[in-house]
């Protein structure tokens, strides 16, 4: 079920009212039932994959906790292999197979393994990663194994974050299912406001931009220069608003019922470096990789070459996590490379800034750093969004527009097609600028009633009158 569907407009209030109406001891069952229904609205049969993951990790959690010595590690590895195996089968088998077949063909070998006719279950990477974080934390002794199978199933399947995160941690979410949540007016309304803001990002910005970006990125060879640049810059906003919009709706929906999910975005395009960007973008995934891959590999407490290796491995795997396609691997690799170059050139850049006197203008320095980071991130998005490596190469090699009057009129032509999205982006940036000074909700709460109501009314009406109601899937569902 999509958040931006009519079904969800009925599902959400029914589930929420039912949740508060039921006694605490039955709420887990209600939420689990609702989560199953939510997931089965996509492809019902794929719930079996979820049941498999849940069963394996439920048993693994208890056996890891009971086991001693090397057996603990053995059970953990078995559980991780089951999770990664599931992911590999559904997401990476055909990719690997196609590449091996291509390689065999290139050297004239006969390659007999056929492709599997499988559709990638929605959100598989999200819930397997969430489930894996549970067994790892049980192994580390940071959380106790969950004895209640229903609550453990709910931890993996909790509907707001089931298909696109935030990828939760067991020590944050599991105890919340055991605690009785009371109806709290302030918390409920805050959750609803966050959901409305998420819908604004998704329907008014992301989906409107999609109308501009998709035709260009789906047929890039029909365009060059200005169109490709604008489509790339706009895609940066599309994916941000699409994904952070989803996260806002998920966090808001959970908040209404009393659950606090982890923050997933923190104004990523105000980052002043690539490292800063990754502290602000898809935080639940980047912290997952940090906690369960980067640090176990040694992080930065190893010789320099090993540190660089660790960084590249993490970013390449992060790219592959997003999709079984070389475009995603290159996207991840580019970010890894950015970080390495940033590390290598740190001193040189500082000296240049000192020499030209830029350090005396910290605001200008910050604007410059933010702009460069945004452009680098946007450049990497080309590989993320392109339908094929060939398309990405074409776009990269045809980005520079000719400098003439025709280019100006082309810019005007394209901007005219963004007449809803651009003012909406302006509002987004304005709100984010205000967020620098603190919570916008708290600022609004201090205003007179008519100002608050005007703001809420304007938000809701802009969603209804400017949003795109075509039930477009969230981009991150494919992962």
């Amino acid at each position: 079920m999509l958040f931006n569907s009519l079904s969800f407009a009925f599902f959400f209030p029914v589930v929420t009212i039912g949740y508060f109406a039921l006694p605490h001891r039955w709420r887990w069952a209600w939420l689990l039932l609702a989560s199953c229904y939510f997931y089965m609205a996509f492809v019902p049969a794929y719930i079996l994959i979820l049941f498999f993951v849940i069963t394996v990790d439920y048993i693994a959690g208890i056996t890891i906790e009971k086991a001693r010595g090397q057996r603990r590690k053995l059970f953990l590895v078995m559980s991780l292999l089951a999770n990664i195996g599931t992911l590999a089968l559904f997401k990476y088998f055909n990719f690997l197979n196609a590449n091996l077949a291509g390689l065999a063909d290139a050297i004239g070998w006969n390659y007999p393994i056929p492709m599997l006719n499988l559709i990638l279950p929605i959100g598989l990477s999200f819930h397997t990663f969430q489930s894996m974080s549970y067994t790892i934390e049980v192994y580390r002794g940071k959380v106790n194994a969950e004895r209640h199978p229903g609550i453990f199933a709910l931890y993996v399947m909790f509907y707001p974050q089931l298909v696109a995160g935030p990828i939760e941690r067991p020590y944050n979410l599991l105890p919340q299912f055991h605690r009785e949540q009371q109806f709290d007016y302030q918390r409920v309304t805050d959750g609803l406001k966050l959901m409305a803001w998420g819908f604004f990002k998704k329907l008014v910005i992301a989906d409107r931009i999609a109308d501009f970006v998709n035709p260009i990125y789906n047929h890039p060879t029909e365009y060059q220069g200005v169109a490709l640049i604008l489509a790339t810059l706009m895609f940066a906003y599309q994916i941000y608003c699409d994904f952070s919009g989803y996260s806002d709706i998920a966090i808001g929906a959970a908040q209404v019922m009393g659950f606090r999910l982890m923050n997933n975005f923190n104004r990523p395009y105000s980052a002043t470096s690539i490292a800063d960007f990754w502290r602000r973008w898809h935080i639940s995934l980047s912290s997952w990789f940090r906690d369960y891959l980067y640090i176990p590999l040694g992080g930065n407490r190893v010789p320099a070459w090993r540190h660089y290796f660790n960084l590249m491995v993490v970013f390449l795997i992060s790219g592959l996590w997003h999709g079984a396609n070389w475009t995603f691997v290159i996207w991840g690799g580019l970010h890894g490379l950015y970080l390495l170059v940033a590390t290598w050139t740190q001193d040189v850049r500082a000296r240049i800034a000192q020499a030209i006197g830029l350090v005396r203008f910290p605001t200008a320095q910050k604007i410059l750093a933010t702009s460069v980071t945004f452009l680098l991130v946007s450049f990497a998005w080309i590989f993320f969004r392109a339908n094929s490596l060939g398309d990405a190469v074409y776009i990269v090699t045809h980005l520079i527009p000719p400098l003439n009057l025709a280019t100006l009129s082309e810019i005007a032509f394209h901007l005219n097609r963004l007449k809803v999205a651009l003012p909406a982006i302006f509002v987004l940036e304005l709100v984010q600028l205000l967020q620098n000074r603190g919570s916008v909700r708290e600022m609004l709460a201090k205003q007179p009633a008519w100002v608050r109501w005007a703001a809420y009314y304007a938000l809701v009406m802009s969603i209804l009158l400017l949003g795109k109601f075509a039930e477009q899937k969230f981009i991150y569902f494919q992962f």
Binding site: S5, L6, A9, F20, F183, Y185, V188, T189, Y456, Y457, V460, M461, L464, L465, L466, G467, F469, E471
Partner: protein, 314 residues
């Protein structure tokens, strides 16, 4: 909890009031609201209710409005004709429900569904909502939860269209604009007949990417209608809508699939095949279904012959 419900209710009322203002503003133009093309549903309803049986009723979308010469059919077959076509966006379910209570003994009902009705259009689109704002009495013709679901899910899109219309009302309009006054007494549009085509018909497409799997519900609804009509003593036929040669050629497989599906699954007599209603592109006005004078004459001729053959076969 009560505080929250009250505030949500207040917000809901504010939204409803805004919607109302937009609808009033949008419908206040010279070619909108009660003057609009869609408002012809009111006249057609009256025509349907007041025309005595036996009569010929044509059911379909705008292919009938801009593509049928009803007086000529009436003259050729000796029965009064009611052309109920307005817009395919009403959805075939609504169109059939509208006619159902007014079928009399000896009536001949000709369904001419646009091909999209066999995919996603069965329950209508924003045009149906527009019709309901102008002619709310038509709500009695909504009998399926799917129609209500469509209205709810399309309401924001409809309101966005209304807002655009309202803004449009403030500007002078150019070119051809069909209105309620553009029809003759039997429900055919005449205003467009001698207007040159404003678009290059050959560039238009017929189906969207989403329109690939035939909706069995459409056939079930048509068959149900046929059963009801037969019980009253009426006959029901299906005729295919007109199409330009190019689009017919490009979509041959899909159209063929619809035809076969109808042949196998429907209980009604199909008068001819889709290929019988393929015409040169020069016969079309502004869409792949709208005919100009030349096209309308050719199509009417074919419809008359098909109905005459059906009558002689009976």
């Amino acid at each position: 909890m009560i505080k929250l419900v009250c505030k949500l209710l207040l917000l809901f009322i504010a939204i409803a009031l805004t919607y109302l203002i937009i609808i009033i503003g949008a419908n206040a133009g010279h070619t909108t609201g009660y003057n609009s093309y869609i408002a012809s549903i009111i006249d057609k309803q009256r025509l349907l209710e007041t025309t005595p049986s036996p009569k010929i009723i044509f059911i379909g979308g705008s292919n009938l409005v801009m593509g049928l010469d009803s007086p000529r059919v009436e003259q050729a077959l000796g029965m009064p004709v009611v052309n109920m076509g307005v817009n395919a966006g009403f959805g075939l379910r609504f169109m059939l429900n509208q006619v159902k209570p007014h079928i009399g003994k000896g009536d001949v009902i000709v369904i001419v569904p646009e091909y999209e009705q066999f995919y996603g259009h069965l329950n209508g689109s924003t045009t149906l909502i527009e019709a309901l704002t102008i002619f709310p009495q038509a709500i009695v013709y909504l009998d399926s939860p799917d129609q209500y679901a469509m209205i709810l899910s399309e309401l924001p899109v409809f309101m966005q269209g209304m807002l655009t219309n309202w803004i449009g009302n403030l500007r002078p309009r150019d070119g051809f604009a069909a209105t309620r006054q553009s029809f003759n007494s039997q429900g055919d549009m005449l205003a467009h007949l001698d207007v040159p085509s404003p678009v290059d018909i050959s560039q238009l497409t017929l189906f969207t990417e989403a329109e690939r799997t035939i909706n069995d519900e459409t056939i079930r609804v048509i068959n149900q209608f046929d059963t009801n009509a037969k019980q009253v003593g009426a006959q029901v036929f299906v005729i295919f809508p007109p199409l330009p040669e190019k689009q017919a050629r490009e979509n041959r497989e899909q159209i063929e699939a619809i035809y076969k599906h109808l042949q196998q699954q429907s209980s009604m007599t199909l008068l001819g095949a889709p290929t019988d209603y393929v015409f040169p592109v020069s016969y079309f006005f502004d869409t792949v279904y709208h005919l100009n004078r030349q096209g309308r004459d050719a199509r009417t001729e074919k419809v008359i012959n098909a109905l005459k053959s059906a009558a002689s076969a009976n």
